[in-house]
């Protein structure tokens, strides 16, 4: 994982803690069973939160389709750039009403399906 992503991850854990989301034990690094999509899911610092969000994507395609679409555009370690590029290009979609970069929405939906 790139340094930038780690910093972001730490900040996010801090954010989550500040918002009262985490129990003490949650602050330890989480481990997940391997999946065929780990190349993608590894980019999510907090897969649990992403999964909670992604489960709300109405009419989401199956995991294989989501993964194929994500792999076509998302390079390893480039989630931030992809998300920003999505927003700049207007590639946004709603999940439970939240306007999200498409890559974030799809990656979260994938997390909810494994």
């Amino acid at each position: 994982m790139k340094r930038r992503a780690i910093i972001a991850g730490v900040a996010a854990v801090g954010a989550a803690a500040a918002m009262g989301l985490y129990r003490f034990t949650d602050l330890f690094v989480k481990h997940y069973p391997p999946t065929p999509y780990d190349d993608l899911l590894l980019q999510l610092v907090d897969r649990q939160q992403a999964s909670r969000l992604g489960a709300r994507l109405a009419g989401a395609p199956d995991a294989g389709t989501l993964a194929a679409q994500l792999r076509a555009g998302l390079k390893p370690g480039e989630l931030g750039a992809a998300a920003k590029a999505d927003a700049a290009a207007g590639r946004v979609m709603e999940v439970d009403g939240w306007v999200l970069p498409k890559t974030v929405a799809f990656l979260s939906a994938l997390a909810s399906k494994v």
């Binding site: 930038r4 992503a5 910093i7 972001a8 991850g9 900040a11 996010a12 801090g14 954010a15 989550a16 803690a17 500040a18 918002m19 989301l21 999510l44 610092v45 907090d46 939160q49 992403a50 909670r52 969000l53 709300r56 989630l79 931030g80 998300a83 920003k84 999505d86 927003a87 700049a88 207007g90 946004v92 709603e94 999940v95 439970d96 009403g97 939240w98 306007v99 999200l100 970069p101 890559t103 974030v104 990656l107 979260s108």
Partner: protein
């Protein structure tokens, strides 16, 4: 209207149906019926007393945007007979009358408020931070109530005679239907029944009874023109509009923590001006996305549900942003409706105490009005993401979602619309009723297409222009 003629050579008779104070018996004259989309009762959104609706208005002021005067091909029936430039010379006087302080708005709003906090970076996209100013009556009473505030000025003006409790009940045209010959006027007795009757023979008449009542008087005055005065093209009462102001229609999250205070509350500047920020669409975005105008304003801090927290955490991590102080707010809005000829006022069978037929409002709001607004919200959400400043949740997806949050501005628009073409408008660009040589109409009922900006500042500017016009034609 009367004040704009104060000190001129024109002798003015101001007839006001109400008194100085609120009187429920007089107010009852305003009641009517509503069908269709749930709307405020017709006697609730206006006041029949000197100063009218300004006795309970909110004082929110903002000039209309130039694009709102244009014929917009995606807004049916849109376009004023003139551009905003025509009203420009009157805005500063209107601003003084509504007592909203120096003209700042978008000219200096950002700069002046920068010291008080940061304007959200929105990356030059479809929406920008724009500004309201607020009416503030002398002595710090908010906002200016025209009756209270200007009563003495009316008394002092040697050429203005004011009659309170004088209800105009009919506009009587001459047999050729080209001129108003007289006005029938009546008072209510102490039991709320018909009191005294008299007539007035004016040289010129300006109807300034509000966007609903103007239409009622025209429609009810049907002895010579059977469809009502000025209604030869069946336009009077049609195109009624208001600004829907639903609450909590979206949630805005600021990643970096609390937004500058001027987003969620009125801000007092050192010179006494009161301002508040709002998100407005640019003209370029309105054209590209084919949307109507809207003004979206931060309301109150809100707690996010579990999905909301997950959305913020996941998105902030993805964007590489520290959201540890993230703060969420509800967003309310004021929307411009698309003009609709079938959203209309007609006369009902009921009559008031003076025998004037009451009104029936057929209220409608199209799903498309909501859909257009949600395109605006999607763009704001996109901008927040692109600038890494935050994110947005759209809360309304069904008609029910909208209607449970619905409130109305009580801005009565469109019922006596303005157009140079008599087939498209009740009044012309000078507010003269088409086909009647001495009858003018003042107020927001003349707005042919609308705006999301609150109407009063704009209708006052339009009325001042009418004052200048009358001085010219009556000289």
């Amino acid at each position: 209207m009367a004040l704009s003629l104060a000190g001129s050579k024109i002798r003015v008779l101001l007839m006001e149906a109400g008194g100085i104070n609120f009187d429920p018996t007089i107010q009852k004259m305003y009641s009517g019926t509503e069908t269709g989309t749930r709307y405020a009762p017709l006697d609730a959104g206006r006041l029949r007393q000197l100063g009218g609706g300004t006795n309970h208005w909110g004082g929110w002021c903002r000039p209309m945007d130039a694009i709102e005067f244009e014929a917009r091909d995606w807004v049916p029936h849109s376009g004023w007979p003139f551009s905003r430039l025509t009203l420009e010379p009157y805005y500063s006087r209107a601003q003084a009358l509504v007592e909203a302080g120096p003209w700042i708005y978008d000219l200096k709003g950002n700069a002046d408020n920068a010291a008080e906090g940061t304007v959200l970076p929105l990356n030059g996209g479809g929406l920008y931070t724009s500004w309201f100013q607020f009416s503030k009556m002398r002595g710090d009473i908010l906002p200016t109530q025209f009756g209270n505030r200007y009563r003495d000025d009316l008394k002092r003006a040697p050429n203005i005679n004011s009659l309170l409790h004088a209800n105009v009940t009919a506009i009587r045209l001459g047999a050729n239907s080209k001129q108003v010959e007289r006005l029938d006027v009546a008072t209510l007795n102490s039991h709320g029944g018909a009191g005294k009757h008299f007539t007035v023979k004016p040289r010129m008449v300006v109807l300034a009874c509000g966007g609903i009542e103007n239409a009622r008087l025209l429609l009810a005055s049907n002895d010579v023109m059977k469809t009502g005065v000025g209604n030869q093209n069946d336009l009077v009462g049609r195109f009624f509009a208001d600004n829907p102001i639903p609450r909590d229609i979206a949630t805005v999250v600021s990643f970096s923590g609390p937004l500058a205070p001027f987003y969620g509350a009125n801000q007092n500047l050192s010179d006494g001006t009161i301002m508040r920020a709002t998100f407005a669409p640019t003209a370029k975005f309105c054209r590209a996305a084919r949307i109507g105008s809207s003004l979206s304003t931060i309301e109150t801090p809100v707690e996010l549900d579990e999905t909301g927290k997950a959305a913020v955490i996941t998105t902030a991590i993805a964007l590489g942003v520290d959201a540890s102080n993230a703060k969420a707010y509800s967003l309310g809005c004021g929307m411009e409706l698309m003009p609709d000829p079938d959203r209309r006022l007609t006369l009902s069978g009921d009559k008031d105490a003076l025998g004037l037929p009451r009104l029936k409002l057929d209220m409608r709001i199209a799903d498309d009005d909501f859909a257009r607004f949600n395109r605006t919200m999607t763009e704001l959400g996109r901008q927040l993401l692109a600038s890494k400043a935050g994110m947005l949740r759209i809360s309304c997806h069904t008609r029910d979602d909208w209607m449970t949050r619905m409130d109305w501005g009580h801005h009565h628009l469109g019922t006596t619309r303005m157009s140079a073409d008599p087939k498209q408008g009740v009044v012309d660009g000078d507010l003269l009723v088409h086909g009647v040589g001495n009858l003018y109409i003042a107020g927001s009922g003349t707005f042919p297409s609308y705006s999301a900006s609150n109407p009063t500042l704009n209708l006052v500017a339009l009325t001042l222009r009418l004052g200048d016009h009358l001085k010219k034609v009556m000289a």
